[in-house]
């Protein structure tokens, strides 16, 4: 909504008051570096913050324009539809950007989630189980279809995959 956009704009500006002009009339080409985006309190503690920033930024480096910024929060808002969320979630978990979630992605995810507290064996086992469960076409990795098929059935995906601002 309008109010939210405005709020987001202020938030965006607050990150770097010296960089972002108040007046966006002639849409200056401003980008905020990842360090600033990642230091937002909403993202600060998120293990996937880097991925989030990368996925939503246009250059894939985590540097965001205001548009990207708005994009990010519109996807992560409560009102965004499930499929859209699933699509971006897939991109976030796809660490190497190859359009598949493969084992290495899973391992990375898991280690980020547990801060490396699981043993090697456990990680391997969990990854195998995940692939076994969700991989419908048996190619040893999860495609977007697999991922969506799995995620739309998850009971708390919608409730956890959003950020309030």
């Amino acid at each position: 909504t309008r109010k939210e956009i405005l709020r987001l704009f202020y938030r965006y500006r607050d990150l770097a008051p010296q960089l972002v002009p108040l007046d966006y009339t002639n849409h200056p080409d401003v980008k905020l570096p990842y360090e600033l985006i990642g230091s937002m309190p909403e993202l600060k503690d998120n293990p996937f913050r880097q991925r989030i920033a990368e996925v939503f930024s246009e250059d894939g480096e985590g540097n965001m324009t205001l548009d990207d910024f708005l994009d990010m929060f519109s996807v992560l808002s409560e009102m965004a539809p499930r499929d859209l969320k699933a699509y971006y979630a897939f991109k976030i978990y796809d660490f190497n950007n190859d359009d598949f979630i493969c084992k290495s992605d899973l391992e990375k995810t898991l280690n980020k989630l547990t801060r490396n507290e699981l043993t090697e064996d456990e990680v391997r086992m969990v990854c195998e189980k995940v692939i076994d469960e969700a991989d419908l076409d048996n190619d040893g990795r999860l495609s977007l279809e697999d991922f969506q098929h799995m995620i739309v059935r998850a009971p708390d995906f919608l409730s956890t995959f959003h950020i309030r601002i």
Partner: protein, 910 residues
């Protein structure tokens, strides 16, 4: 009046409404608007490239939620309309407007304003030139006018068919607008599409519908939006109101969901007791305190003279004798006046109703919660399919924005992964089944023995206590023997069971249930021996009462006789006897109430002390003695305590049973219980966080707490029995309590029906109580239950069937792919054998080979042939890059596309 109107429109429709309003208005108003809308806002809106070209319309719509857009569109429509008529007006004149404007009165005003504004515009233009924005808008306005006038012409000339077509198109575009958020596009692209669609809608929508309906529509849209927003806020508010959410989350993150489930249960219990407390205090205790006779006015509200000396002693009070006994806490204090106070509050009736209502409410709540839980359980019944995947991808809560919570979340995620891993390993494990079976039988045997032993012990103690009851020279131990033995049993048996249960080696979740069941049996034995003892007591008291009743009547007569003899004046009415001196009955209800209160209080003491000593002291000792001890205390023998879920849950359940049973005889008990639950929430939370360590084998609580609920329901039912029995059959004491003087407690209802309700109601009730009516009603209910039961069974069956089908379909799909792989394997082997057939041959052998080595899989394939198409599509979608899919083992060069396909994502060639 005009302005607020407009502003509203502006607020709703966004910039558009504002923009429109602005131009026509005079200068200062313009200024006003500017001030009100901070520059930043403008800037925020302005930054979009689309806005440059799109002007007004796009400005507002950029990426607001669809609904808003629609609202905006509707608004725009209005605006457009206004302009239409404006255009028409310019030459035709105001009178004609009525024809077109129909019912749009509000519009008319705007039109007027518009015309005025135009003039003003002309004037103002020179002034405003500096503001290029406004200029811009002006131009746009002109453009728009062109548009809208076009559409207005169209409107006149359009036939029905065109109208319909246009409508469809508009709908389509609208849908696009509404769904634009669902498209995973970049903002720029979205904006472009949105703009196009919006323009189209703007242009043609004005041509559709009638003015009045449109306004109504806009209103409706707005209202639904507001309603949704309100609902969401309300939901947020409600979740914010749930107490201890953070505490429980914290516990959960450290100890896993099973420990948390206890606390959730505790919280649920607290909620229920709070309601019960509200009922009892609001309808019974408070009225009695406020409107009833004060203390000391009648015998039942006065401490007897014999007890008065000791009535305030601490030890007496702690036994709930003395002043406690004759207070509002207990049944005996209440008077049997039919109505009390100026409000004519029918206390006895309300007492009975609250007593029954307590059970009714609890039953309803428990069953409802169970049903809800069952619902939830059914919902995630299939989660076995994706446990790990879901854990992996949905367990992180993106809302977390606090380092500490994040830590907790990490901990809890790790825990939950471990839980699942344990579950998984459990599934895979299968060892010596005979040994285990033997151990299990042995364990059950041992447990049965100890249960029997404890049962006998209780029986023995009860017998002894009945003996003791007749004697006076009792030591402290002998007086409290029963409570002590019962508490001891409660302390000793559960750990014993736990030790024995280790023999069984069940999965912790199942073990927990067994454990719960066993302790439940133990407690049940305790409870019922206690009840039987109590009933004995009640019966003796009832006999005693009969004698005392006569005695007291006789004493009363004596007193009066004495008095008149002393005064030698039979006329004078004697002063009433001092209430403290009246001989009174034993009042068994109060005695029962006292027993329950005592039991509850001692239970509280025991459980708190157990935590303090068993957990806290142990933790302190282990922690600090560890520095100077010969072995590692933390890792070795005593170590820290684990949180005993089963014991705590059962304690809670049985405590609740006590409350249910005792609440009728001691209304104050509910209050005590509320305090207890409240304090134990904090106390146990603290204790668990401070002194306990997580279970070695963390495990997930079964999602629905229906097992707990089932226990609770059973206990509720069991505690319902004695209370209803006493209400229905035993005669109430003659000189205490709200029902004194009646034959049965239940008579108070009859009395009310007879005296307070109109006569026909009485007859109605007597008809309703007729067995001729009741028996058919019961039959009907039984039939209904039977029918519903069979229906639900049928549903369950079909559900199972569907699930099976789904699973089969999935397996089949998997199998097929596997088979494709394996056939491929065969082919590969074949190729290995014939390494020279590099380019041409791989294609031909495939169709022939396929059926031969594996006849079985091919048989299944036809069955799934229908799916082939789908599958192929999947594959096509899934693999935009064929190279990425090629296995490493085969060189891509020589093979060509043939085998790649044969390797077979697609259906095998037939």
């Amino acid at each position: 009046q005009r302005r607020p109107n407009r502003r509203q429109a502006g607020g709703r429709g966004g910039a558009k409404g504002r923009g429109r309003g602005k131009k026509p208005a005079s200068d200062d108003e313009d200024e006003d608007e500017e001030d009100e809308a901070p520059r930043g806002r403008r800037g925020a809106n302005r930054k979009k490239p689309a806005k440059k070209r799109g002007g007004d319309d796009e400005d507002e719509s950029e990426d607001e939620p669809p609904k808003r857009k629609r609202g905006g569109a509707a608004n725009k429509k209005k605006g457009g309309k206004a302009q239409d008529s404006d255009d028409d007006d310019s030459d035709v004149g105001k009178g004609k407007k009525g024809k077109k404007g129909g019912g749009r009165k509000g519009k008319k005003e705007e039109e007027e304003e518009e015309t005025k504004g135009k003039k003003g515009d002309g004037k103002g233009k020179g002034k405003d030139k500096g503001k290029d924005k406004d200029d811009d808008k002006d131009k746009k306005k002109k453009k728009k006018k062109g548009d809208s006038s076009n559409s207005s012409e169209e409107e006149e000339s359009m036939s029905e068919g065109e109208m319909a077509r246009l409508m469809e198109e508009v709908e389509e575009k609208k849908k696009l607008i509404a769904n634009i958020r669902n498209k995973p596009w970049r903002m720029q692209r979205r904006l472009k599409h949105l703009k196009e669609a919006q323009e189209f809608v703007d242009k043609f929508e004005g041509a559709l519908g009638k003015g009045k309906g449109r306004k109504w529509y806009a209103y409706k849209v707005m209202m639904t939006k507001k309603w949704i927003k309100f609902q969401r806020d309300f939901e947020n508010f409600r979740t914010a109101c749930i107490p201890w959410e953070r505490k429980i989350k914290e516990v959960e993150s450290h100890f896993g969901s099973s420990v948390a489930s206890y606390f959730i249960f505790l919280r649920w219990m607290y909620g229920m007791n709070l309601v019960l407390f509200g009922f009892t205090f609001g309808l019974v205790v408070i009225p009695e305190v406020l409107m009833g006779l004060p203390y000391g006015s009648i015998p039942r509200k006065t401490v007897p003279r014999a007890e008065q000396d000791t009535a305030q002693d601490y030890s007496v009070l702690m036994d709930f004798n003395g002043y406690c006994k004759y207070s509002v806490l207990f049944y005996g204090y209440y008077n049997n006046q039919r109505t009390i106070g100026v409000l004519k509050f029918r206390l006895p009736l309300s007492y009975l109703m609250v007593g029954i209502g307590t059970f009714g409410y609890s039953l309803m709540l428990v069953i409802r919660t169970m049903a809800k839980n069952a619902d939830v359980g059914g919902g995630d019944g299939e989660d076995s399919d994706f446990t790990f995947a879901w854990k992996m991808f949905t367990s992180w809560d993106y809302l977390i924005g606090n380092a500490e919570t994040a830590d907790n979340k990490y901990a809890s995620i790790t825990t939950s992964f471990k839980e699942s891993i344990v579950d998984e390993q459990e599934n895979q494990k299968d060892e010596n089944i005979h040994l285990r079976r033997f151990l299990r039988v042995l364990a059950n045997f041992l447990i049965t023995c100890s249960l029997g032993g404890s049962g006998y012990l209780i029986y023995f103690v009860v017998k002894r206590s009945q003996e003791f009851a007749t004697r006076d020279d009792l030591s402290w131990y002998e007086k409290n023997e029963m409570e002590i033995v019962m508490s001891l049993l409660g302390l000793v048996c559960p750990p014993l069971f736990e030790t024995i249960a280790e023999l069984e080696d069940y999965h912790p979740r199942i073990a927990l249930k067994w454990q719960l069941g066993r302790i439940f049996a133990l407690f049940l034995g305790n409870l019922y021996t206690f009840l039987f003892a109590l009933f004995d007591e009640v019966n003796t008291k009832l006999e005693e009462e009969q004698a005392i009743k006569n005695a007291s009547i006789w004493a009363m007569k004596e007193y009066y006789a004495n008095y008149s003899r002393l005064m030698n004046d039979s006329e004078a009415t004697p002063p009433p006897m001092d209430p403290a001196d009246v001989i009174r009955g034993p009042c068994w209800e109060t005695a029962v109430g006292i027993e329950f209160v005592k039991l509850t209080v001692s239970d509280i003491q025991v459980s708190y002390l157990t935590i303090l000593i068993g957990d806290f002291a142990r933790a302190v000792i282990v922690r600090f003695l560890n520095y100077c001890w010969c072995w590692d205390l933390e890792a070795g023998f005593p170590s820290y305590g684990e949180f005993d879920i089963s014991g705590n849950v059962l304690g809670l359940v049985f405590n609740q049973g006590m409350i249910w049973m005792g609440a009728f005889y001691a209304p104050g008990l509910v209050g005590i219980n509320v305090l207890r639950l409240l304090s134990s929430m904090y106390y146990q939370c603290w204790a668990v966080m401070a002194t306990n360590v997580p279970h070695e084998r963390v495990f997930k609580a079964s999602k629905s707490n229906n097992f707990y609920m089932g226990l609770l329901l059973l206990v509720l039912f069991l505690s319902l029995l004695p209370v209803v029995y006493t209400i229905m059959t035993l005669p109430p004491s003659f000189d205490c309590g709200p029902f004194s003087g009646k034959d049965k407690m239940f008579d108070v209802v009859m009395e009310t029906i007879d005296l307070d309700l109109p006569a026909f109601m009485g007859t109605l009730f007597s008809y309703a109580a007729n067995p001729g009516l009741i028996i058919p009603a019961v039959l009907l209910m039984v039939l209904a239950i039977y029918y519903l039961n069979s229906v639900s069974e049928a549903y369950q069956n079909s559900n199972m069937e569907l699930k099976k089908k789904m699973k089969m379909a999935r397996d089949e799909e998997k199998n097929r792919r596997n088979n494709a792989d394996t056939t491929n394997q065969v082919m590969k082997d074949l190729e290995d054998l014939l390494p020279n057939r590099s380019l041409i041959p791989p294609d031909p052998p495939e169709p022939e080979k396929l059926p031969e080595p594996e006849p079985k899989p091919t048989k299944t394939k036809p069955g799934s042939a229908g799916k082939g198409v789908n599958l192929q599509k999947d594959v096509a979608l899934a693999s935009p890059n064929p190279n990425a899919r090629a296995p490493v083992s085969r060189p891509p060069g020589p093979r060509g596309p043939g085998p790649g396909r044969g390797r077979g994502r697609g259906p095998p060639p037939r």
